[in-house]
Amino acid sequence: MIVLQKYVFRRLIQTIPVLIGISIIVFILVKLQPGDPFSSMMDPNLSQEMKEKMLEQLGYNDPILIQYFKWLMQALQGNLGYSIQFKQPVLNVIGSRLGNTVILSICSMILSILIAIPCGVISATKQFTKTDYIVTVFAFIGLSIPSFFFGMILIKVFSVNLGWLPISGMVTTGVNLTGLSFVIDVAKHMLLPMIVLALMNTASLMRYTRSDMIEILKTDYIRTARSKGVRKRNVIYQHALKNELLTLITVVTMQIPSLLSGALLTETIFVWPGIGRLNYNAVISRDYPLIMGIVMMVAIISLFTNLLADILYAAVDKRIEFD
């Protein structure tokens, strides 16, 4: 276990330059935006003199390096600027929408796992048969359809033509539902975006599971299990699958950043009030502070997700490796 702690420590140290790198890149983007980034760092309701004082504090007249540090200080304190659209601190705006994206992402991830793992396992155990072929082709299709196109087709079929599901949004407007009916309403709205968001991840998870299982089924310890008289079903679903699931944890964790990216397109089409749609709207209305704030936030989330995935991988691997 001590080796693991050392590894975790080393990885944490490695994240520091990356964090700095992220901050530098975001800062460069901030400086590149047209107009003056400093005024948007301040509460628009302040008086003119206060604003001028703040400008000085924020580094308006300073050389670029000092500007960077002052900006960084502000960021670390949670001041990512004020959204031009909403006239509120960026962090607040993001915070109010982040939850919606998280719900959508989690449900989407669960859906992915529920479909991909069984399909991948079955595909691996029936390698080279028709079933395997069909699953593989489906996986390829899932990887190849542009998510927004898939989304629009679903909308056309299920919302417009069949009218089964709402077209967009998170809740039905004009009605004030509570309790169970609220949950059902949200669920109805979430179904299509969830499927669309899950598409690509399901496909790649399916393929990964399949190829990993095939490798596991060739190992010596699976041969040993068979030689003990373990039923074939148990060989696959107990002996092989447990090994598979451990490595899948890392893979699934690594898919989180792509969920954030995919959420952008999905939320935009389905008008789901999460940070993806927020991001798009911010770009359209050139709300630079908000844009930069979201970029920063997403980058940091990705960083820590990757870190988590690496640590999980090392923790799992410790069992497989012999010292």
Binding site: Y221, T224, S227, K228, V230
Partner: protein
């Protein structure tokens, strides 16, 4: 005759199909008596692993095929068994241990669970009775601190310990036959000695018959009662262990014996058998060993495959030199 526990008649196993087909086990026959340790010797690629895997039904069924022959065990022909029938036998009446202890245990299950598994499946043991039996077995294979090992994972154990665990697992249901496929090849010499001792002890106490595969003649001398020499998928010599070392007849066997380092006079170069084992798809016609044999003496060697001739009681050789009645040597 009624002491025979396993009887293999004219078994042939092939891999691949069409023009890629190779025969890995060619018309092999032997009988195996209860309580004995039969050694199968041969170099890599001679078919020994294929032979044992086919007894257990563990050959990859898409690319391999039992062409011919029968594997008679307890009145049944294993070559015709379905997977379900095999699941009953494996770990229960016939067990197997493999060459690589480092990779043969499931890394994510505790040792206790892995040893308990065949007992649960075949003997329906549960709970405390199950755990006690497992600890007892761990003691029987001389694993120190069995309680601790019960709760350990494979990566906590050394190679020698893991092989003991494999043996424990294989013998847990007291099978009639244990197939040991080069169990000591991957181990240190000192550990090797311990494992061999353990196997002999178990054979003595529990009367488990052992099919011991190896390429190492010193191991054969140590452990086996009877020996079968394989070359190119065919049996070339079969006899008891004393006959093998005192009175071997087949040129290949003699070559193996001669190439042991301790047989060599000091100062002289080590002897070896000229040439290399041909690949299965490239076997010479006639006697498989003919292109490397120093005692080749007639055209029949290169045109006809010699059958097994009886030299004396239970000593058979597949060589034209010993054609029935004649002894050209």
């Amino acid at each position: 005759m009624d002491k025979q526990i396993l009887c293999i008649n004219n078994l042939s196993v092939s891999f691949g199909e069409g023009k890629d087909k190779v025969i890995a086990v060619d018309d092999v026959s032997f009988a195996f008596e209860k309580g004995r340790i039969l050694g199968i010797i041969g170099e890599s690629g001679c078919g020994k692993s294929t032979l044992t895997l086919s007894i257990m039904g563990l050959l990859p069924d898409k690319i391999s095929n039992i062409e011919n022959g029968e594997i008679l065990f307890n009145g049944n022909d294993l070559s015709k068994f379905t997977e379900k029938q095999f699941e009953y036998i494996r770990g229960n009446e016939i067990s197997m241990i493999f060459q690589e202890p480092m990779t043969s245990l499931n890394p994510v299950f505790k040792i206790g669970r892995q040893i308990a598994e065949p007992l649960k499946i075949h003997k329906s043991l549960y709970g405390r009775a199950l755990k006690e039996k497992v600890i007892e077995i761990l003691r029987a294979v001389h694993i120190p601190n069995p309680e601790k090992v019960y709760n350990s994972y494979p990566h906590n154990l050394s190679g020698g310990m893991r092989q003991r665990v494999m043996i424990a697992m294989a013998l847990s249901c007291e099978p009639e036959i244990l197939i040991a496929d080069e169990p000591t090849t991957a181990l240190d010499v000192t550990i090797q000695a311990q494992i061999l001792f353990l196997l002999k002890e178990l054979n003595n106490k529990v009367k488990t018959s052992i099919l011991f595969i190896t390429h190492d003649l010193s191991v054969v001398a140590e452990v086996c009662d009877e020996v079968m020499v394989l070359y190119g998928g065919k049996v070339v010599e079969q006899c008891n262990v004393y006959e093998l070392f005192d009175n071997a007849k087949h040129p290949y066997t003699l070559g193996l014996l001669d190439s042991q380092p301790h047989r060599c006079e000091s100062g002289k170069p080590l002897k070896s058998i000229e040439g290399i084992v041909p690949s299965l798809s490239d076997m010479p016609s006639g006697c498989r060993f003919s292109n490397r044999c120093s005692k080749k003496f007639c055209i029949k060697c290169e045109s006809d495959i010699p059958p097994l001739f009886n030299i004396r009681d239970n000593h058979k050789v597949a060589c034209w030199l010993y054609e029935e009645g004649k002894d050209f040597d």
